[in-house]
Amino acid sequence: MKNLFRNPKESIAAKLIIATGLLIVILSLIFWYAIFLKQQKDVMSIAVEYGNSFTDFIKRSTRHSMLSLHTSTIQKTLEDIDTAEGVERIRIYSHTGSIFYSSNKKDVGNSVNKASIACTGCHDNIRSPGLLPEPKKWEVYKSAEGVTSLKLIDTIGNEPSCYTAACHVHPENQKILGFVEADISLALLDKTLFRQGLALTAYVLIFVVAISLFLGIINYKIVTHPVNELAKGMEEVAKGDLGYSAKINSVDEIGMLAKRFNAMLKDLKAAKDQRILWTETLEKEIAKKTEEIQRTQAGLMQTEKLASLGRMSAGIAHEINNPLTGVVTYAHLLKKRFPEGSPEAEDLDVIIEQAERCSKIIKNLQTFARASAPEKEEIDVNRILQQTLSMIRNQEKFHNIKFITSFEKGELRILGVTNQLQQVFLNMLINASDAMHEKGSVTVATRRINEKGDPFVEIEFTDTGVGIKETDLPKLFEPFFTTKPQDKGTGLGLSVSHGIIKHLGGQIKVRSRPGKGASFFVMLPAAGEKA
């Protein structure tokens, strides 16, 4: 409720109450004033009516004395009537304004004030005494004491008993013989009117206050409270509490707003929860992938080590087996020249035996290298490419590289080792990125092709880099051939890749457009369709 009395600028309720209150006050004032005027008029006409019968009464009371010209009696009668409450003064004067009788004795013999209603009531101008079409017979004025008074003037008409009276004061042709004037105090009426006005004002005030209060409460219940509730809700939401729900049950527009608001909050909360869930899942997924990548990298290193061990043992086997063949063969040939069981033949047997032991050691080395190399299995090239691409997309080296992929539909199965193929593809992509100074586009495409009648899978990597110099082309797959700075290139990428692909029965082809880019084509025999 205290919100009702806040700064009116900030409260709808206050604004509404002030506006309606003001309207009611103005309307009430107009209404009040109209009633007041009407009352005053009514009261006045009643007063005038009573006043007229009063002057009539004076005329009748003095009639007898007039006819018999008992002037002292007339004077006395006026003085007596004047003692009645509310009567202030009674005068009788001629049409020239000479006062004949007055309740105030000192007045007798004087003239009336020519500017007063006594003259102006009928004559518009004293000097040319024309008559007004509608004579004014009464007026209300404020006496010197501040009391409202009513002044009434009545004419005393001529009649036969007047001009036939013994005194012969009035001739027959005189129409008006004089005037009776009475001043009556309206103090009592004033008081009543004032009281009535006061009561009316009080009614209006109570009415205004009651209406305003009522409006205020209604407004508070219907508008202020729900709006505050909503505002509180929004504050809570801003603070991050989406579990809030505005408690408004009305079915009006604000209730509807609250309902929508609550629904929106619910949606928001659901979305936020979903987002949190996603973030968590994503984090887990990232952790999983990171671990996978680390494992792959470790695996790659291991494969590379084993691959180089395999290549080394192959080289050693070839280089050593040839001389060993010489040793064994010549020892046998020599042995044939000595009789069986001779000491020479026995010594030669030792030579042969030792040479064969050497060859066995080499065979074991080969077997070991081959045995530790991972097993080949049927794998989908598209999938491995996709994995490799998603693995590198987040790496800084590839941030400014646009990948254009065009994969053959379905699975492209080949026989190979996942880690090794990933290593090959990774190498191609790293080389492409290096050739483009880490900015440009790389097209990665796969397709089924026919190579001398056999089904093959071809993977294309085309970049928009510097390309390869004609003179470098023959050296590209040599171990340690690199054009990159020492800390960047090892020159092993393509040679290892070549080794892996060759081992799988495939090959790598290069096409270069110096200054424009290079394309590498990795071709692998398709699985399950071996001729």
Binding site: T325, V328, T329, H332, I352, E356, S359
Partner: protein, 120 residues
Amino acid sequence: MKKILVIDDEEIIRKSFQKILTPEGFEVKLASSGHEGISSLQKESFGVVLLDLKMPDMDGMDVLKEIKENWPETKVIIVTGYSTPEAKEEALRLGASDHIDKPFIPDILTERVRKAFNND
């Protein structure tokens, strides 16, 4: 006369083949490279060719393919110091009749060569 062609880039090996097989009654001709071997085959016919798989000028496999294409009657025995099972398989697929690992025992070589001739 049973004629044998030895194709191997190492002289000691070539000569050892000759020393082992000549006393056994074979006529042994020597070639130090794939190209040389092919031109020998173009001049005269041989019953058996002993072929090293790893030579600098021409891959043993390619020599094997060419021999089998042009002289399908000629038996080819692969003699190699280092070979993976896949390579051996590939050689057999291309038409080699046998393979012998280096180093070999002379008697075993003789026996295998004889077998090649007898399988005719």
